[in-house]
Symmetry: C2
Subunit: 363 residues, 2 copies
């Protein structure tokens, strides 16, 4: 069987795939009302939140756009903490919709220093919100969100979090850390195909929403909340099959228990990093902030990264991802989130070890 180990989409359990094949029902009828109610309640358990939880039909990037357009106005000053491609994308979205983005760029491979975030917030008193990536999929780095959240909330700023590749895999207690908006997407740790973004919205975020002037229609939080609160529906026809898949996947996740899921991801991440080091390959991320869902592996001189991934894909059925933008050709990336265990990553390390010499690598 193929080992699909890109950082999303992730492999889906057979039970989840079976649910994807369920026949359509009326999205404005009683069966679907019940499903949406249950899925929303279960998602809140994983988000560890009592905030509103909205399901939006679209990709994770759509969820990020929704966060920006629902909370901000053109001209609002915001701090963007970026540690890679997806942090830059988040800032780019905010710029596109006319906010005044103060970029805090961190060297790729490193995490953001909460003290530097604190200073940036202090140095720019007019800041309304801080955008931050919890887990940067392009570099395999996890920010210390708890510490960053503390400095942002101590300064009474809005905290908007891209948790697309962390939520459900790495601990992120939304309420305990006072995150105002947290965005994730179905194709990551949830073991569900792509097609939906899930967003939590705090009371402070709702407060900001009431005066936010960036125009929005499809992504409008008020429409999503009103339709759910009053009718247990979505304003627009939702990705029904993705909701089906969630009904199964979330039961599996809650049965395993979120603490156990986080611990499994930590063990799997450590096992993989140990294996990669043993092969003699460099890890790209600062070891103090290595991600437990995505590992970026440096491509040393002599190794043909494209050839490595091609042989792995064609002869070993192991599918890995390349580097993005300036990291193209410099790293390859292994996703290990959702349905994954130590045996899976050991197999991957073993396959990589066999292919390395064929792709020019000399230890």
């Amino acid at each position: 069987m193929t080992q699909l180990r890109v950082p999303g989409p992730t492999p889906c359990p057979p039970e989840v795939l079976k649910a994807m094949a369920w026949q359509m029902v009326n999205h404005r009828g009683p069966e679907f009302h019940q499903m949406l109610t249950d899925v929303t309640a279960d998602l809140k358990k994983v988000f560890q939140t009592k905030n509103d939880l909205l399901l939006l039909t679209g990709s994770g990037t759509g969820g990020l756009e929704a966060a920006v357009t629902n909370l901000l106005s053109p001209g609002d000053k915001i701090l963007s903490v970026s540690i890679g491609v997806f942090g830059d994308r988040f800032a780019n979205i905010a710029k596109t919709f006319g906010t005044d983005v103060i970029p805090m760029k961190v060297e790729w491979g490193k995490a953001a220093d909460p003290d530097v975030v604190k200073k940036a917030v202090q140095d720019n008193p007019g800041i309304k919100a801080v955008l931050v990536t919890h887990n940067e999929t392009s570099t395999g780095v996890t920010n210390d969100l708890q510490a960053i959240a503390k400095v942002v909330k101590d300064a009474a700023k809005l905290l908007i979090v891209d948790a697309i590749s962390s939520m459900g895999s790495i601990n992120l207690p939304v309420d305990a850390w006072h995150c105002d908006v947290v965005v994730t997407a179905s194709q990551k740790g949830w073991m569900v195909p792509p097609g939906m973004a899930m967003v939590s919205v705090s009371p402070e975020a709702w407060q900001a929403h009431t005066t936010a002037k960036i125009p929005r229609f499809y992504w409008d939080f008020t429409r999503a909340k009103t339709n759910f609160d009053e009718k247990k529906e979505n304003p627009w026809t939702p990705a029904i099959s993705i909701v089906y898949a969630f009904t199964v996947a979330l039961k599996m996740m809650l049965k395993e228990g979120i603490e156990n899921i986080f611990a499994r991801h930590a063990r799997v991440g450590q096992t993989l990093r140990d294996g990669i080091k043993e092969l003699g390959l460099p890890l790209f991320a600062d070891p103090a902030h290595a991600s437990n869902t995505v590992t970026a592996v440096g491509i040393p001189p002599g190794l043909d990264g494209k050839k490595l991934r091609q042989i792995l894909r064609e002869e070993y059925k192991v599918v890995l991802a390349g580097g993005q933008q300036t990291l193209d050709g410099k790293i390859f990336r292994i996703g290990h989130l959702g349905m994954v265990n130590e045996k899976d990553v050991k197999e991957i390390v073993s396959s990589i070890g066999k292919v390395l010499p064929l792709a020019g690598f000399k230890k």
Copy 2:
């Protein structure tokens, strides 16, 4: 088996549902490149177009938002031809993003008169674009799009068409009728679950796009086109399972042949309308413009429409839709698009006939 006969989602064939259960692949890998290439080419055959065809992950309403934000600028004067709830929604989207909407409202149940559209275009010389619904799902009316398109294009305006509930079921040759942007969605005549919008973009629309100033990121046509043209990819992680479903559903559609599909929908529509009339129930739509995908049935005095639909759903497994907004309680709606034949609608008529006396109807 349940007869799901709302105007979308529509029932999916077993082969399509099987494809929904396919395991995930890398959306940036060779298998998916091939699928996206094939699905795009097949969609163009149904759209009868050589224009660009973009797949956007989202609901149909997202596709409408994409059309507005990619072609227009704040302050642009546009004519909105609305014959029901979805025409009003389209206008509402355009207003939300700051365009100057001149509403042309037609009595619900009637189609737009092309001569009136012509006059409206002449009377408002600064108009840049015309928004029009091909098939109005809320009233069961199909506009004479060919005639409307002629007057709009003769006046050299952009023509933006909501074909969500018509494309693939009712003839709409995009190139022959010179439609600039045409939007549809997966859960309608395509026999695929909801989760993707499909949009065709003409050269004139691309021209308008280059100067259109409404901010856009997620829905940006340039990003969608560039990623497809250069890499056969989507800019953001797409609804992969919906693309799987399309690979199967489109083959089925092209095997039947689009002319045969349109003829089948015409026969099915006529059979249903004849049956409803025989039951003694009034048809809401102007008979000259009755839709072949959705039929709105008037609720005469004495008949409890909600009870009718409830008994049909609970005891006959026939699921129909109610009326929307001011039509709530005044009509119910039957969807007959996608996987549907004369036998299906005859069964529905027979079930309605049995339940009518139980819901207070006296012929």
